[in-house]
C-alpha cells in the first residue's frame, strides 16, 4: 500500500489496465484539444490580446496622451474636470494609468476600431473594462497597444483591479461609446 514499498521493486514494469489507458488517453487528448483551442482562437476568434508592446518612458507616454487630449477634447466631466476626448476612428488613442486615476475619458464610436495605448506613470494597475469585462495589466515603462472595436453603445467604466495602494478603490475611469 501507499505507506509501504511497492511489492514489485521494478514498479515501472507493471502492465497498465485498460481503464487506466483509456482515461490517460482521453485526458491527454483533451489537453491537445484545449491547447489547439487557443491556437484556433488566434486564427478565427475576435478577442485576442495583442502582442504589440514597447518599452517607454512614462513622460513620453504622458506627452502623447496629452497631445491627443489637446487635439480632440469635446468637454469636461466630474469634480476634477477630466477631459472627454473624441478621437477619430482608426486613430491612436491613449489612456494613462496613475495613482489614482485613469486619464482621460474617451468617447468612441460603435463598431469603429481604434489603437488603444495603455501605460502607467508609476505602479502596476489593472485595466478592467466593465461591464464588458475585459481585463489587462498595465505596467510602468511598458506601453501595450491593442486594437479595440466597441460592439455596443453605452457608458463603460474602467475599474482598477491591480492593488495599487490606499486609493486603489477610488480609481475609476470611463469610456463612452456613442452610435
Amino acid at each position: 500500500m501507499a505507506l509501504t514499498p511497492p511489492k514489485d521493486r521494478l514498479w515501472w514494469k507493471e502492465p497498465l489496465h485498460t481503464s487506466e489507458i483509456v482515461w490517460i488517453t482521453v485526458a491527454f487528448l483533451w489537453g491537445v484539444v484545449m491547447f489547439s483551442a487557443m491556437i484556433y482562437w488566434h486564427i478565427e476568434g475576435k478577442q485576442n490580446l495583442s502582442n504589440e508592446a514597447y518599452r517607454i518612458d512614462p513622460e513620453v507616454f504622458a506627452a502623447r496622451a496629452e497631445e491627443m487630449t489637446d487635439q480632440y477634447t469635446v468637454r469636461e466631466e466630474g469634480e476634477l474636470g477630466i477631459p472627454v476626448v473624441h478621437p477619430p476612428p482608426g486613430s491612436d488613442i491613449y489612456i494613462v494609468a496613475r495613482l489614482w486615476e485613469w486619464w482621460p475619458i474617451l468617447e468612441l464610436e460603435k463598431n469603429q476600431s481604434y489603437r488603444l495605448h495603455l501605460s502607467s506613470m508609476d505602479w502596476q494597475h489593472g485595466f478592467s473594462l466593465q461591464p464588458t469585462n475585459i481585463n489587462v495589466q498595465v505596467h510602468p515603462n511598458y506601453e501595450l497597444v491593442l486594437t479595440i472595436a466597441p460592439n455596443e453603445a453605452g457608458t463603460f467604466s474602467i475599474v482598477c483591479n491591480e492593488y495599487c495602494g490606499i486609493g486603489h478603490h477610488t480609481m475609476l475611469g470611463r469610456i463612452y461609446v456613442v452610435e
Binding site: 500500500m1 501507499a2 505507506l3 509501504t4 514499498p5 511497492p6 514489485d8 521493486r9 514494469k13 507493471e14 497498465l16 489496465h17 481503464s19 482515461w23 490517460i24 485526458a27 489537453g31 491537445v32 484545449m34 491547447f35 483551442a37 487557443m38 491556437i39 482562437w41 488566434h42 476568434g45 475576435k46 478577442q47 485576442n48 490580446l49 466631466e77 477630466i82 508609476d122 505602479w123 489593472g126 478592467s128 473594462l129 461591464p131 469585462n133 475585459i134 481585463n135 489587462v136 495589466q137 505596467h139 510602468p140 511598458y142 506601453e143 501595450l144 491593442l146 479595440i148 466597441p150 475599474v159 483591479n161 492593488y163 495602494g165 478603490h169 477610488t170 480609481m171 475609476l172 470611463r174
Partner: protein, 565 residues
Amino acid sequence: MAAKDSFRICPDTGLKVHLPAEALIKANAVVAVVFLLVGGILGLLVALTRWPAVHLLPAEAFYSVLTAHGIDVLLFWIIFFEIAILYFASAVILSSRLATPWLGWIGFILMLVGAIMVNVAVLQGQSSVMFTSYVPMPAAPHFYLGLILFAVGALIGVCIFFGTLVIARDERTYEGSIPLVTFGALTAAIIAVFTIASGAIILIPTFLWSLGYISQIDSVMYKLVWWGMGHSSQQINVSAHVAVWYAIAAIVLGAKPLSEKVSRSAFLLYILFLQLASAHHMLAEPGISSDWKIFNTSYAIYLAVLGSMIHGMSVPGAIEAAQRGKGYTKGAFEWLRKAPWGNPAFSGLMLSLVLFGFLGGISGVVLGTEQINLIMHNTLYVPGHFHATVVAGTTLAFMALTYIVVPLIFRRELILPAVAKWQPYVFGIGVGGISLFMMGAGTLGVARRHWDITFSDATLTFDYPGTAFLMMGLNGVFALMAALGGAMFILVVVGSILFGKRRGEAAQPAPAPAAPKPAAAVGTYGNAGTIYVPGTYIMVGLFFTAFVLYYFVNWKYLSEVWPLS
C-alpha cells in the same frame, strides 16, 4: 551521538519513530496550526469587509489584513505543515533516523523568525503590498528579508528530507523502492528546490532595491521570476496533498494504489512540466508573445494537468478497490455509501478530492486559457479558483491528516469526537461556498483586492450589477461557515494535544473504524485485468463532462466582449 539512536516503536503501525524527528514534526505542525488560526481569522475579516452590507474594516486596515492573510496561510501555515510532512514521509514512513536534526531546528527557527518578521512588517503598516508584492510598489526591507529567511529555513528542511532518504537507503531501513507517499513527498521536495531558488533570485534583488542599493527592478521580469516561486509553490501543495490523500486512504481503509506505475508517473509529470508555470499568471501582461503564453500556460499541452487528472481516477479508484475488497460490491456506489463518512480523516479526504477537482481544477485550467483569461484576470474569480484548490483542496487534506497525526504522533485521543466528525463538512462546504460565490462575482467583473465595490470615494460612479452584491453577501455567509469549520478544527486539535487522553505506548485500536489488515487482498498489485471500479469511472465521467461543458461556456462568454486584437 546517543540522540540520533533514540527511537520508539509505534504500537499502532510497528514503524520505528526517530524521537528527534518526531520532535521536529510536532514543532512544525504546531506552528503551522498557529499560522492557520491567525491567517484564518484574518481571512474572515477580509470576507466580512468585502461583504458590502457589513464592510467591517476601514480601507487601510483591510489592505494590511489582506496582505497578512495571504502570506500567513498560503506561505506559513502550508509550508510549516509541509516540512512536518516531509520529515514524516522520510524518517517515520521509512523507519529511519532523520539527517542532522540539529540543522532541522536551525531551519525551524529561521522559518519562524522570518514569518514573524514579515507579520511585523505588515502590521506596522508600510508593507501592505499583498502576498505578491509587485514592484515598483514598495514594502519595508524587513518584509522581503523575512520572506528570504523563511525560504532559507524551508530549504534547509527540504535538504534534510533528501539527506534522510539517503540515510534510509544507506542503512537499509526499508527494502525496495520508497513507498508511494514518500515518492509524492519527494516530488514536492524537488519542486521546492526550484521554487525556493526562484524566490531567492527575485526577492534578494528586491530586498536590495528596498534598501536603495539597486535603482530599478523591471516589473514584468519581477512577475515572471516571482511566479516561478509563486505557482511552483502551489504545485508543491498539490504534490503534498495528493500524497496525503494516498496516505489517508491507506491508513483508514488499507487502500492500495491501483497502479504504482500510473500514480508515480503522474507525480513525475508535475516535476517535468511545472517549471513553465509562471505563464498563466502573465497572460494579460504586455511584452510577452502569445506563442510563449500558449506553450507555457498549458504546461506544454497540459501535461502537468494530465498528472492531476490521473490522480483524479487513481485516488478514488484505490478507495473503491479497497472497499470492494471488503465486500461492498452492490451496485456502483455501495462502496461509497458505506464508507466511513463519520471518520473526519476520510470525509476530509473525500471532500478535499471532490472540491479540488471539480471547483479548483476546472476553474484553474479555464482561468489559464490565454484568451479566456481576458475576462477573468484580476477579478474575484481568481481568489475563487485558488480558495478551491489551496483551502478546500490542500488545507482540508492537511486537516484530515491531522486527525491521524494527533493520535499517532502526539499520542493523544481526539477530544469532542462529534465536533471532529462534522468539522470537515462545515469547513469544506463553507470553503466550497466562498469559492463558488467569488467565482460568480468575478464572472460579473468584480475586482479582487478591492476595498469598496460601491466606489463611494471615487469621483466618477459605477455600479456593478445587483447580482454581484448578492454574491458578495453569500461569500460572506459561507466565510462565516468556513471560519466556524476552522475554529472547530483548532478546538479539536489543540484541545486533543493538550487535554486528550494519552495513548501511551500500549497498542490500542486505531482511532478509525478498525482498518482491515493491510495484507487482506484488496486487488492485486500489478493490476492487469483486475481493476474493477465502476463507481470511480462514473465519477470521473461526471468530472470530465463538467470540465468540457464549463470550458466551452467560457469561450462563449469571451466571444461576446468587444473584439480586440
